[in-house]
Amino acid sequence: MADTVDSSSGTPAAEGGGRQNRLQRYRNLRFSEEELAVILLTPVVSFLLAVSFYPIFDTVVGSLHTGYVLDMNPRQFVGLENYRRLYGSGPLLDQLLNGDGFWNALRISLIYTVVSVPIELVLGLGLALLLNRNFKGKYFAQAAILFPWAIPTVINARIWAWMFNGQYGVINDLLIRVGIFAEPFPFLARPETALASMLFITIWKTSSFMALILLAGLQSIPDHLYEAARMDGASRIKQFRDITLPLLKPTLLVALIFRTLPAFQAFGLPYGLTGGGPASATTTLVLFDHQLTFNRLSFGEGAATATIITAIAAAIAMLYVGTLYEPEVR
């Protein structure tokens, strides 16, 4: 990403003397490049500081208070009390593995992210390799795989809630017709299968998004590399390992960041599919935070959860950039 900065160029000084003088004159007469940059960037940067950074700061401050937001309950500094309440009591490892409330939500979000993103990446890469050739009807195939991405997440959740319905759902009907099940199974009413169904739905929805991003990466790999490899007698698998994968690395980085952060913050899918149930089995961290804030009106604990989510999201982003980013040599 950052390599674009160094490659940028202003207007290079023109050669001929008269031309250069005229150029120089207009430069002196009007704004300099730097002045113009300040004029153009000030509104953008101040807008982002006000609407994106200030709220984060406010949330962190709010996580150290009670009575946050609610007027009738004046704000009071309580230190780390909100975090202590989220933590509950017991040894860390025990809480991590068995704790409820915050810990349960953290576990669900981690499982959701760690299971869905790698599968989406592999399926997306497969789809991209399949689409990365010319064939009749490519336009329609590409349009079809755009469908899942086009449907709003929360509406998609309602569609699948109907398809997974335990009595009249089409998925049960298909499974019975194929002979896998003997009678309808209440997928969304059992904790394990509810989480599994949610994973299935998000993988269905976002693999196509992965495929589109990776397809662009595949298309930017020059053909002559593969030709040269074929002349050297390299097998398909060797070509994939030695050419495709290394050159796809920057694209993979973007795809991973673009999927992992939203996956960790899943909200619309559990909200629309199960409402977090049964028995909190599909309550992701953001849904938990939402329930804390809007159902239980625990604004302090909600802000503490949001602060933890921010810290984890920042850690994920830095981890990816640190391990996968290689500055381009120019």
Binding site: G10, P152, R158, I159, I213, T310
Partner: protein, 286 residues
């Protein structure tokens, strides 16, 4: 001789097999991708009594539009649609303007602290939405922006601005330097160059950025749910997600409502497919 014939035959057979396998897998993938929408459509055409049957009916007997009528009467459907169009268009307009200005500066002007500014702008894309929700909610409340279009347009524009900036700066980087030189030679100021020369040739980037931002604003749920508490101000995504229907098993009307709400977006996506893919992949290519 017969040996050669045979090997040719086998090759031919393999070739046909490969083709069938390839198109077969493409077909299955396409079917799996389209099936949920197709299923909503099928459900929405069923007679109310035939929706909740098991085994399931795959081709509706006596197809009917009654579910669509019920869906439209049960919720201010067209009002939701209008709300979404206004919010998404407003967000796209702000992001195209600000994104073009910032993208131009970051790709074509020389100035100090460029890298920190770029990182600051792109970094905001990684901040969690839930951590911005409550502070922005209380700001919107104190400025009287709850249940107003501006109340959603402002946060949406800020959330998507990094992507717009990225799309524009990637596009401007590819333009030849001679464009600005020529403008300066002709006596235009730097601002004149930007507005008279650079922006007019950036229509493709504008379209890409506008479409990506528009789709985001159309689909967003968390803020739309929280900021618009009056039913008449809800966006279509929230309105349909909360739509309950009036019968015990309202799946027929819900299917009709969902199908109607998703169709404009799907048509929009199909119509602008190339642009959508370009926008999604602008970051992948960089």
């Amino acid at each position: 001789m017969s040996y050669d014939d045979n090997s040719l035959e086998i090759e031919r057979f393999q070739w046909v097999g490969k083709k069938v396998g390839f198109y077969g897998s493409i077909f299955i993938i396409a079917l799996v991708s389209v099936f949920p929408i197709l299923w909503m459509f099928i459900t929405s055409l069923k007679q109310p009594g035939n929706v909740v049957t098991f085994p399931v009916e795959y081709i509706p007997r006596d197809p009917t539009l009654a579910n669509y009528r019920a869906a439209i009467e049960g919720a201010p459907f067209f009002r939701y649609l209008l709300n979404s169009i206004i919010v998404a268009t407003g967000t796209a307009a702000i992001d195209v303007l600000l994104g073009a200005l910032a993208g131009y500066s970051l790709s074509r002007l020389r100035f100090r602290f460029k890298l920190p500014v770029l990182l600051l702008i792109l970094g905001t894309a990684m901040l969690p939405f839930i951590a911005r929700l409550i502070p922005l909610y209380s700001l919107a409340r104190s400025w009287g922006l709850l249940n107003s279009y501006l109340g959603l347009i402002i946060p949406y524009a800020a959330f998507q601005l990094p992507f717009a900036v990225w799309i524009f700066q990637a596009y401007f980087k590819e333009l030849p330097d001679s464009l600005e030189e020529a403008g300066l030679m002709d006596g235009l100021s730097r601002i004149g160059v930007l507005f008279r020369i650079i922006l007019p040739v950036s229509a493709p980037a504008m379209a890409t950025a506008a479409i990506i931002v528009f789709i985001y604003a159309w689909n967003e749920f968390l803020f739309a749910l929280t900021f618009m508490t009056q039913d008449s101000m809800r966006t279509i995504t929230v309105g349909i997600a909360l739509y309950q229907g009036e019968f015990q098993y309202p799946w027929g009307t819900i299917s009709a409502a969902v199908f109607m709400s998703v169709m404009p977006l799907i048509l929009f996506m199909l119509f602008f497919q190339r642009k959508v893919v370009e926008g999604l992949t602008a970051t992948g290519k960089a």
